[in-house]
């Protein structure tokens, strides 16, 4: 098993003095090549921060993160990131957005006519697989949220990144669209054979997509527990009703409630409602 991304005793501190916040403490995690790992947890557990550290958009306060054995110093084209929204370029149409990386020196160093051709073939292939052909010349403002995220994913895949980092990419979509996107992303990632680290606050999404689910806890942000998902690699929507799926879902929800202090809130509410009925 080759390690695609490896975090060793990673910590992240924001601010200093009284405003000091320990966003992450002692996070150690290995993600294997080709693996689909989901990070789930209540808000403030540092899951997005961890992803941003992997992307190189922030730097670690302590510890080290390596991508294929090389310490991460900043953003790099080997680790593409998909954001929740507003990351498409509204002045470019769908096709131009997908081809955007081709405008950058990092991807045009060895530009031969064959490269240009294969790039444009790649863009067409991504357009096809993401179901974007009918809207290829539409501007982002004319697209639904789901179509916008398909474009963002296609753009991220354009440069054949080794690792795809996804920060709640379906968080702003409605439930039906999200289900379609789940199957689409599983299909595409299997096709592309890329490693995925996927952040979400939706436990069901985390289990359905992930081979492994990493549960994180807040104050300070840390890894609470890691679960192997007992489902076959080829997922389908019916599996969401299987016993092992539901059992794992309850288990993870319970961990999140316990660690985030939500459990005490729930108990308090229950007590209050009992009092009022008396």
């Amino acid at each position: 098993m080759t390690i695609a991304i490896s975090c060793r005793a990673v910590s992240k501190i924001f601010g200093s003095g009284r405003k000091r916040v320990e966003a992450l403490t002692d996070v150690t995690l290995d993600v294997a090549e080709g693996e689909f790992v989901t990070l789930v947890g209540a808000s403030g557990c540092g899951k997005s921060t961890l992803l941003r550290l992997m992307a190189g958009l922030e730097s670690c306060s302590g510890g080290v993160i390596e991508s294929s054995g090389v310490p991460i110093r900043g953003p790099g084209a080997d680790r593409a990131m998909v954001f929740q929204n507003y990351s498409l370029y509204p002045w470019l149409n769908v096709m131009q957005n997908i081809k955007f990386p081709r405008q950058l020196a990092a991807h045009t160093k060895d530009r031969t006519s064959a490269d240009v051709e294969s790039a444009s073939g790649r863009a067409d292939a991504l357009l096809n697989v993401m179901g974007l052909v009918p809207v290829r010349s539409a501007y982002p403002v004319q697209l639904s949220g789901g179509m916008q995220q398909r474009t963002a994913i296609a753009r991220a895949l354009m440069t054949r990144p080794k690792i795809l980092l996804m920060d709640e990419p379906f968080g702003a979509l409605d439930a039906q669209t999200r289900e379609v996107m789940h199957d689409l992303i599983l299909h595409v990632c299997a096709l592309e054979r890329c490693t995925v680290v996927f952040v979400t606050h939706d436990v069901e999404e985390a289990i359905y997509l992930g081979r492994r689910v990493v549960v994180m806890a807040p104050r300070p942000g840390r890894i609470d527990s890691i679960y192997d998902v007992p489902l076959p690699a080829n997922r389908n929507q019916e599996m969401k009703h299987s016993e092992s799926f539901l059992k794992l879902k309850l288990q993870i929800l319970d961990r999140i409630r316990t660690t985030s202090g939500m459990q005490t809130d729930l108990e308090l509410l229950r007590k209050l409602s009992q009092q009022s009925t008396l």
Binding site: L57, M81, Q84, W91, L92, F100, Q103, L104
Partner: protein, 264 residues
């Protein structure tokens, strides 16, 4: 009523009807007030007197060259400040270091009245064309820098970070993301500051001018030619309105991707 819905919609026809009424009603009120004889025409000349004055100004007094020289001064002062403010604002809005050095300074200067600089301008620059352009420059530049910086800061962080994770260098992020993303807001800033530049015209033409709309207004004041003052003010308003509409048209034509409806 649907028209009074918050951020409601009205048909283009009603829009232009209302816009016409918005201009026609004050004009009618003005005409009636003067016709009633309640006000001394020296204080308030009628619309017809003003119109006649514009015609004689055009025929005998080189109105077109006054308009020409004033437009030149305004546009030159505004363009000069745009040339400096755009790159400077881009840097202030992009790099915290530049912001720390320049923004408080700019905030400090922009509260100083441009009129108060006139004696200094005459001392440093002299009394020729460049002095008038300088007044307009001072009046617009400092506001413009801050607005440009704000436009640049409003570029969504996700757009910038997406480019970074695709391997874009700093120069590429500036050139291929920040600038194109901020363009519509920048054009709006240029449109608004053009309006401000016009408001400094009369002040600018206080400086040893012998031509221009602002100068004509000041001179008319000396001879109590109220109709000419009105003519000058209305002409400046009309030119401003025309320029503003041209900017809006340019905005619509340059950024079709902002409109969700018309598939282009």
């Amino acid at each position: 009523m649907r028209a009074w819905k918050i951020r409601g919609w009205i048909s283009p026809r009603s829009y232009w009807l209302l816009a016409g009424a918005g201009l026609a009603v004050p004009l009618a009120a003005w005409t009636l007030l003067v016709a009633s004889g309640a006000v001394n025409p020296v204080f308030l000349p009628g619309p017809l007197d003003v119109l006649k004055r514009i015609v004689t100004w055009f025929n005998d007094d080189a109105l077109m060259s006054d308009i020409g020289i004033s437009t030149f001064r305004v546009v030159a002062g505004w363009a000069l400040s745009a040339i400096v403010a755009l790159p400077l604002g881009l840097l202030i809005g992009t790099f915290r270091v530049v912001q720390a050095v320049l923004e408080p300074l700019t905030d400090f200067i922009r509260y100083m009245p441009a009129v108060a600089f006139i004696p200094l301008i005459m001392l440093w620059i002299g009394i020729d064309e460049s002095a008038k352009v300088a007044v307009i420059f001072i009046g617009t530049f400092f506001q413009m820098v801050l607005m440009v910086a704000e436009d640049v800061r409003r570029v969504p962080a996700a757009q910038i970070e997406a480019a970074e994770t695709m391997g874009a260098t700093r120069a590429e992020v500036l050139e291929k993301v920040i600038i194109p993303s901020a363009k519509p807001a920048l054009l709006d800033t240029l449109r608004i500051t053009m309006g401000w530049a016009w408001t400094y015209l009369v002040v600018a033409e206080l400086v040893a001018a012998n031509s221009g709309l602002g100068y004509a207004i000041i001179k008319a004041q000396r001879f109590l030619q109220t109709d000419k003052i009105f003519a000058g003010i209305l002409l400046i308003g009309a030119i401003g309105l025309a320029m503003d509409q041209s900017f809006r048209l340019l905005h619509r034509l340059s950024f079709p991707w902002l409109q969700p409806r018309n598939q282009s």
